[in-house]
Amino acid sequence: MNSAPPALRPFALALGLVALVAWPSPPAGAAAPADHSPLPFPLIERFENYGQAEGMPSAKVHSVFKTSDGRLWVGTWNGLLLREADGRFRRIGPEDGLSHEMVLCLAEDPTTGDLWIGTMRGLTKYSGGRITAYTQTNSGLPNNVVYGVDVLGDTVWAATAAGTGALNLKTGAWKLYDHTNTVMHEPWCYSIKGAQHLVYIGVWGGGIIEHDPKLGSFKEYRDPDRDFHYDLVPDDGPINDITSWLSWEDGVLWQCTYFGFSRRDHRGWKTWIEGKSPLLSNFTQFVWPHRGVAWIGTDRGASVTDGNAWANYSLTDSGEGLIEVHRPNQPVERRVLATALANGFVLGIHVDDREAWFATSRGLSRGVFAADNPYQRPATVAEVR
């Protein structure tokens, strides 16, 4: 859903390498160049915000997701919203069959287009206007609090407060994975993501579990230093065992924790903490990877990075939008934006080549990209080739 088409991935990689080679390295202490080096991601030039004044039933927004047909879905404290073609929001609530009014997470079945909705009290399927609710009492869902959901092949994976549930869509059978039948240190599953043939489970207090459904294997990634408050040895593994969110794209695993942010790729682990890196806040709670770039939701705004360059979107004390751009070996570029994120507490993000959407605790924000530095679109990649 959120990755480049497989056929284009080698070209995207090549483009990244070209950008890396072309990266200028000014001498230490050099003044900021007038022309900054290009960034591997677009910058947001303004935000459009949607709250109760725009017809949303709640200012508190937990999740945002654009399905493959281009429709925008918004999970709020008071129901699921579908943004209609005219820009209005249509609400779907418990009275329509939604298992609970507070929507925590959203995922699309890439085969059928069905939308799976994790709520504070059950899992809900939205299929062609039909709504089916799954709860602990009417199904094999391990627990009613569904913090994460994803669809991989014929299986829906639900990360719940008491284990991971796997619903086989062909047979209707459920499987439960928790601390009693896997290597999970704790049963509290806070996030989940399908990754080709694997499933990654973010465990509250148990790091990350890598599960191969075909082999039935489970591998655990834990913070090697086991210290909750300090990253004693950087880049040695997940930064912390309390995984607040995770995601995966093209072989790269991203982990959010309340003590910093981690990435695992073919080179190994890389960790970032506030103060020692441009990461906006150690309190990271959502990541949306797109074309090798992580869009990170924190309690103070959003950080965007490919691991080298960073852009941070936050708010000043007076509520103005602030952007900070960190390029390697260059001075930090700070600018006040004409508009700001609706709120700094970012619980959900959806980014594609055209725009970025942010679920915040005081409204939904749309980030409009600056025209001069877009994501590399297929046509651009073709030109490079």
Binding site: A161, G163, W204
Partner: protein
């Protein structure tokens, strides 16, 4: 939880009377100001439910005597499958509209409350001693109880053996609670001065199980000290079992043994009560020293508790001088009331990390940036002539 001893029954009657009086004395909330709700997560399995609920209700009455927006207490806890505490936290946070949560002494329930708070930004005050609670890193969550490793360190500082490091055998619960307690005990033992030897623990299952075999295992290991880190009532039952099998070594335990249920479970048989002498328990300074908040709490309880002595070395005159579980819940409610009133129209999570200190029944309510209570702990020892403070050493 059924009161089993005359002490506990007397305690309960006094508390009921105090509650009734407090209700009469409380000002009525202004009709145009709906009360802010505090959610108390109290699962049926919570061993100290009675104390916690009583303390929370007394704290609510005290908080509502103060000026400011009125408060209400919503208690939730239903039997169910594993993970039901998460559902209960959701009910409190969303259906009941609680502005803040109080989480119980069991770590699993606390973590589920924290998970809900992680997505809702509701402040949480935890009564659980596991170090893992504040290790979760939620900025708007704090622990009001002492940490297990800090309590253990206080006890270890007292233990001595004339010829070798003292041999300490932990008696801990089964499953996750036992695992977390052992982790914290090992952390404290690793830095203990002088050295001590932590023996292989016994994992004590629920009370329906036969405790005799486990007690015999303890005796076979010949420890110098048994570290009672079970729930108060279970600790009392196991200590009694050990005594009946002839154990005459020393006992030590966590601060929540300062509970009527512990002494009730020890039984009224004279040998067991006499034998408990030598018991070491860490306690906040407020358990032995007078302060206005503590005295208010004790008056509200109207219980036959120890008179304020003002001297750390003075003996206390009752076997359970201070119901710490009730006092912590009392302080948790008062603290959250203060946080919510200070926040006013602002979201209460913005009050965290808490910068100010307020007096509490268990001592000053002050917290470090990670949300851990900043405690001054004493170690109390039960002796034939009463209870004495043995650490830090009282000045001559």
């Amino acid at each position: 939880m059924r009161p089993t001893g005359p002490f506990a029954r007397r305690w309960l009657r006094a508390a009921t009377l105090a509650l009734a009086l407090a209700g009469v004395a409380s000002p009525q909330p202004a009709p145009n100001r709906p009360p802010l709700k505090l959610g108390l997560l109290l699962p049926p399995a919570e061993p100290e439910a009675q104390s916690i609920r009583r303390g929370a209700e007394l704290g609510l009455a005290a908080a509502n005597r103060e000026p400011g927006v009125p408060l209400d207490l919503v208690v939730r806890g239903q039997p169910g499958q594993w993970g039901t505490e998460g559902d209960d936290a959701v009910v409190l946070a969303l259906d009941e509209g609680a502005a803040a949560l109080i989480a119980p002494t069991t770590g699993a329930a606390v973590h589920q409350a924290l998970q809900v708070a992680g997505r809702t930004r509701l402040p949480v005050v935890s009564l659980c001693s596991d170090s893992s609670v504040t290790s979760a890193g939620l900025p708007w969550a704090i622990r009001i109880a002492p940490r297990t490793d800090a309590e253990a360190a206080a006890i270890f500082a007292v233990l001595r053996h004339p010829t070798r490091p003292p041999r300490c055998l932990p008696a801990v619960p089964t499953d996750r609670p036992g695992r977390e307690i052992l982790h914290d005990l090992e952390t404290a033992a690793a830095t203990a001065t002088p050295d001590l030897q932590l023996l292989k623990p016994v994992h004590v299952p629920p009370p329906a199980e036969d405790l005799g075999a486990l007690a015999r295992d303890v005796l076979a290991a010949n420890p110098d000290v048994v570290l009672l880190w079970l729930e108060p009532a279970a600790s009392g039952r196991f200590a009694r079992q050990l005594a009946q099998l002839g154990y005459r070594g020393r006992l030590a335990g966590h601060s929540r043994l300062l509970a009527p249920s512990f002494f009730a479970a020890l039984g009224t048989a004279l040998p067991a009560r006499r034998w408990v002498h030598g018991l070491l328990v860490p306690a906040p300074l407020a358990a032995t020293r007078s302060n206005p908040a503590r005295d208010d709490f004790l008056r509200a309880c109207s219980a036959p508790l120890a008179p304020p002595t003002g001297e750390s070395a003075s003996p206390l005159n009752t076997p359970a001088p201070f119901d710490l579980g009730a006092a912590l819940a009392y302080d948790a409610v008062r603290l959250l009331a203060d946080v919510l009133r200070r926040a006013g129209e602002r979201p209460p999570y913005r009050e965290f990390p808490l910068q100010h200190t307020m007096p509490g029944a268990t001592g000053p309510l002050a917290f470090d940036p990670a949300g851990n209570r900043q405690w001054e702990l004493e170690v109390l020892e039960w002796r034939p002539d009463g209870v004495r403070v043995v650490h830090p050493q009282p000045r001559p």
